[in-house]
């Protein structure tokens, strides 16, 4: 309940700051890009605030607990994305004068069909990204307080949609900048505090991970989704109603909603489809997404998706359009790289502590709650409770800021690109999009935030990344080439994800490339775009359309602003 109480001031502050944005809200530009008057420092705080989502705040530590130290490559890719953005996209993109990515596509290539296709891609990416945010909100709230999963999902959806529908991008900017500072404090202070509180023994174990084989004390595990446990040595289990039984060797199905207490000293059962944390591969600093045969390929695949995907994330690109000119957009990107770097020094601390203190979360598949579950293991008194409350508030700030940006681009795609309308339709689209995103989140409890988000990155990397890079730097790009490339990238990446989700298991390196398809879908999209463009002829104005993106701000007449 204390954790719940910590959320109330956060939610109220979010709504109050959101209301500040309502003043002087008249046009689409006011709503979508805060009238383009945001300074680089405020904007980079807002960019970072929006970007540090559930995947960063909770997902990385959770993935590290589950998959090992190699999960720390995810944040490296997340931060490197802004470097790619800074080098290739930020300033020219801002100078295009477009409000959204579909706008940019039309401004550069003059094709309404490309605009519609881009709007569809925005919806796919934002959907893959929004659902895990809401899902984790529900999961965290149910982990720290006795509320059902759906309550957190609905609260997060409702607060974000209300603040955004009223205040638009101006509200989102202040809220996200405020929440970046909040998240930074609420992530770093508890990390140091926990390290100090945990004592020398835990700290020593954290850097010397052994395999998790024995329950070191009576361990309570709540299963929110059904799993199959393979028991290798009989283990005594106490049910919630007090009955004790001994699980024999072999496979046992545990249904969703059960809570079991495993007796001290028993051998830890293994979960089908994953290795216990702390094993021989766990401490290796490379990712092994499928089996453990191709760690280098897996690592580079994830890096490709996250680095190139960041460039194409529609809600991130939209933030750059709030800068007054190209130069400040570029400065925003540069400051963002540094700000993110500070934050990402700490997920590893939580991950290493989780292996020592809450390894049992791997049994229930709830590794995403590791960060908020830690304090209670370190201290049973007021310090533990306070730290749980702080971390819960920080995690909620993460969902709120990211979901806000995502809802805004969804609204932009629907009410600005697909069915152009005024301010009223934009506001209605925000509420509508939130209503559509909540139901899938109610059913997605079993999929890790990190995985879903990486798929969002993969689709973005295979569609918008080639569109933006070639659109900005290559004057021979034709509308037909861009259409074909975006369509090929969308089909290939979403097809691979569909096979990974619903299809048969693919063994070996091919399996890595199905689960993490970016290394072949991105080159494919680039190749299709280049080949189709070379077969055609670019329009006569293509040269000018490219050059005006690179003309510096001091030489731009009023017609180019």
């Amino acid at each position: 309940m204390v954790a719940f109480a910590a959320l109330v001031p956060l939610l109220l502050a979010t709504l109050a700051i959101g209301l500040r944005g309502v003043a002087a809200m008249r046009t689409t530009s006011d709503f979508l890009v805060a009238s383009r008057r945001v300074s680089p420092l405020l904007n980079s705080a807002a960019v970072s605030g929006e970007y540090l989502s559930a995947a960063s705040f909770l997902g990385v530590a959770g993935l590290m607990l589950k998959d090992g130290a190699g999960a720390l490559w995810y944040p490296v890719g997340f931060a490197a994305g802004y470097l790619a953005m800074l080098v290739l996209v930020a300033a020219p993109m801002r100078r295009s004068g477009a409000l959204t990515v579909p706008d940019f596509a039309e401004a550069r290539l003059g094709s309404p069909w490309l605009r519609r296709l881009s709007a569809v891609v925005v919806l796919v990416v934002a959907g893959l990204y929004l659902v895990p945010q809401l899902r984790t909100a529900g999961l965290v709230l149910s982990a720290v307080s006795p509320t059902p999963y759906w309550v957190g999902v609905v609260i997060a959806g409702a607060v974000v949609a209300t603040a955004l529908a009223l205040g638009g991008m101006r509200a989102a900017t202040y809220v996200q900048a405020f929440q970046f500072c909040l998240k930074l404090v609420l992530f770093i202070v508890p990390a140091l505090w926990l390290l100090a509180l945990a004592g020398p023994d835990v700290r020593a174990q954290a850097v010397e991970p052994g395999e998790y084989t024995r329950f070191e004390h009576d361990t309570t595990v709540s299963f929110r989704t059904g799993v199959v446990l393979r028991v290798e040595e009989p283990v005594v289990i106490t049910e919630r109603d007090g009955t004790r039984w001994k699980a024999a060797e072999g496979e046992h199905r545990v249904g969703a909603g059960r809570t079991l207490v495993f007796e001290e000293g028993g051998r830890v059962p293994s979960v089908l489809g994953s290795a216990p944390p702390g094993g021989p591969d766990w401490h290796r600093p490379l990712l092994a997404t499928v089996g453990d045969g191709y760690p280098l390929l897996s690592t580079l695949s994830v890096l490709t998706a996250t680095v190139l995907g960041t460039m194409g994330l529609p809600h991130v690109i939209m933030r750059f359009h709030t800068s007054p000119d190209g130069r400040s957009a570029r400065r925003t990107a540069a400051i963002t790289v540094a700000l993110l770097g500070v934050f990402y020094l700490f997920p590893g601390v939580y991950g290493a502590l989780s292996r020592v203190l809450v390894p049992h979360l791997y049994l229930s598949g709830a590794t995403d709650t590791a960060v908020v579950a830690l304090p209670a293991q370190v201290d049973q008194g007021w310090q533990g409770t306070l730290l749980t409350a702080l971390l819960t508030a920080g995690a909620f700030a993460a969902f709120l800021a990211t979901s806000m940006g995502l809802l805004l681009v969804v609204a932009g795609a629907v009410a600005h690109d697909l069915l152009p309308g005024g301010l009223r339709r934009l506001r209605a689209a925000v509420l509508g999009a939130a209503a559509v995103a909540v139901p899938p989140a109610l059913y997605a409890a079993g999929i890790d935030a990190g995985i879903l988000v990486t798929w969002g990155f993969t689709v973005a990397a295979s569609t918008f990344c080639p569109l933006l890079v070639l659109g900005i730097w290559w004057r021979r790009l034709t509308p037909a080439g861009a259409l074909a490339g975006v369509a090929a990238g969308l089909a290939a990446s979403s097809g691979a994800i569909a096979v990974a989700l619903f299809g048969p298991d693919v063994p070996g390196w091919a399996g890595v490339l199905v689960a993490q398809p970016a290394p072949w879908t991105v080159p494919l999209a680039f190749a299709v775009m280049v080949a189709v463009s070379l077969a055609g002829r670019p329009p006569a104005w293509a040269r000018t359309a490219v050059l005006r993106l690179h003309l510096d701000d001091d030489h731009r007449g009023p017609s180019l602003r």
Binding site: V207, A415, R543
Partner: protein, 116 residues
């Protein structure tokens, strides 16, 4: 006496435009003055060269570090302040390196635009 009712005064064309929605203007062919075009052409070429250099540097960090860790498993056993050296290489080294590349790219790109 009743207060007079306030009415909005707009031209019929404005009303029509409002009713249609005014999300975006019509698409127009891009135009650029010849002098500006020449300047932009020069900037594009120099920025492209700078971008390639910055990308190579970024790629060196992002491909080089995984390859280093993959080829040198002994780094897992080595310790720096008690922490495995390989954890420091992924957890701490990339961020200052990337921030430095970012700063360099920013300064170079702005210098190119100021006209060398």
């Amino acid at each position: 006496m009743d207060r007079p009712r306030r009415v909005a005064v707009t031209s019929p064309q404005t009303r029509l435009a409002h009713a249609r929605g005014r999300a975006r203007g019509r698409w127009r062919v891009a135009r650029l003055d010849p002098a500006d075009a020449e300047r932009a052409e020069h900037l594009l070429r120099r920025q492209r060269r700078q971008a390639v250099a910055a990308l190579l540097l970024t790629g060196l960090v992002l491909v080089g570090l995984p390859v280093l860790l993959w080829s040198r498993p002994d780094l897992d056993a080595a310790r720096l302040l008690g922490v495995p050296a390989s954890w420091i290489i992924i957890g701490a080294v990339p961020y200052p390196a990337m921030a430095a590349v970012g700063l360099w790219q920013l300064l170079r790109a702005e210098r190119i635009e100021r006209g060398r």
